[in-house]
Chain length 186, copies 2
C-alpha cells in the first residue's frame, strides 16, 4: 500500500492521487486503506516517511502576525531540524537529491503540506502564490543545506534567534514584499 | 595523488593543505605533483572534479558595479547550471549530500574559489565577511536546489533574467545591505 501510495503521490501529486486509485494499484479494498491510515493526508505523511507532521508545527506559524510570518517560518524549520528528527529529515533530503521519484514526492509533500498553506495564509493575488511560495522554499532549503548539510559557519553554529533575524526578512520579502516575480516558461 | 589531495583539502581546507604534504601522503615527489597539476589551485580544481573552473566566470561577476554584484552572482550560477556542465555539477552536489568528506571538500571549494572572492570584492568590515558569505551561499544553494534538483515551478522553467530579478536583491542585501549578522557560537 505504501509503495502504491508513493508512486501515486509522486506521479499525480497530492490533489491528483486518490485512496481509491492507490487501493486499486495495491490490489486491496479502499476500506482497508482507510482502516490502516485513516485519511489521505495521514497516508501521505506515512508514504513520505516524514519523521514529523507539519500539522504539529504549522498552526503556530500561521498564527504569527502577517509581518512576522517570515521569521516564524525560519523558526519552525530550525525547530524541526534542531530537534530529534534531524537524522530522519536528513535521510529524506538525501533520498530526494539521489532519486527523481523521491524528489517528486518530497516536492509534493513540502508544497501541499507546508508552502501552499503558508502562502495561502497571507493576503496576495492568487496568481502570485506559486512564485512567492517557490522563492520562500528556495531560501529555506538553502539555509538547511548550509546549516545542516554542508555545515557552513557561522550559519552552522549560530543560535536560532540569530539565524531567524538574518534570514527571516528575506522570507518575509518573498511572502509580502515588493518582488519581481518569475513566471513559468512554456 | 588525487585521493591524497581530496583528503588533504577536505581535512585541512584549501589554505591548510600543501603540495608538499599531499605529495608525502601519496608517496611521490612534490616535483611530480607540480609537473602534473602545476599550481595548488589547479590541483584543487582537479581533486574536486569540478566540471567548470570558477576562474572562467568570476572575473565578470567581480567586474559588475558593487550595487549589481548580487544579480551578477545569480546570473553566473544560472549560466553554469544551464550550461553543458550541469550533470557533472549535479553529481558533485549529490556526492556532497551523501558523504561527509565530500561535503567538506565541496564546502571548501565553494568557499575558497567563489564565496570569499565575491565577498572580498565588496567593501565591508573584515569581521562581516564570513557571515555575509554564508548568507549569500544559503540563497544561491537553495535556488539551485529548487530550480535544478527538486524542479519547483515557476523557478524551474523561468528565464534566467526573471530568476535574477527575483533573487538578485536578496543576494545583494546579504552582500551590502542592512542585515542582523549571525555569529559562530563556541
Amino acid at each position: 500500500m505504501l509503495a502504491a501510495a508513493r508512486t501515486a503521490f509522486a506521479d499525480r501529486g497530492y490533489d491528483g492521487a486518490s485512496i481509491r486509485g492507490i487501493a486499486t494499484a495495491a490490489g486491496v479494498d479502499p476500506a482497508l486503506v482507510h482502516h490502516y491510515f485513516g485519511t489521505k493526508d495521514a497516508l501521505f505523511v506515512a508514504a513520505v516517511q516524514a519523521p514529523v507532521d507539519p500539522d504539529d508545527f504549522l498552526p503556530e506559524v500561521l498564527a504569527a502576525p502577517p509581518e512576522e510570518r517570515g521569521t516564524a517560518v525560519v523558526r519552525m524549520v530550525l525547530h524541526v531540524w534542531d530537534g530529534p528528527g534531524r537524522p530522519a529529515v536528513l535521510a529524506l533530503v538525501r533520498s530526494a537529491v539521489n532519486h527523481e521519484w523521491s524528489a517528486r514526492l518530497l516536492r509534493e509533500f513540502v508544497l501541499a503540506k507546508i508552502v501552499r498553506r503558508v502562502v495561502g495564509s497571507v493576503e496576495m493575488p492568487r496568481e502570485e502564490r506559486e512564485a512567492r511560495g517557490a522563492l520562500v522554499a528556495s531560501q529555506v532549503a538553502g539555509l538547511v543545506m548550509m546549516r545542516y548539510v554542508l555545515r557552513l559557519e557561522p550559519l552552522a553554529s549560530a543560535s536560532p534567534d540569530e539565524v531567524a533575524a538574518a534570514v527571516g526578512p528575506t522570507v518575509q520579502r518573498y511572502l509580502t514584499g515588493d518582488v519581481a516575480l518569475p513566471g513559468r516558461r512554456d
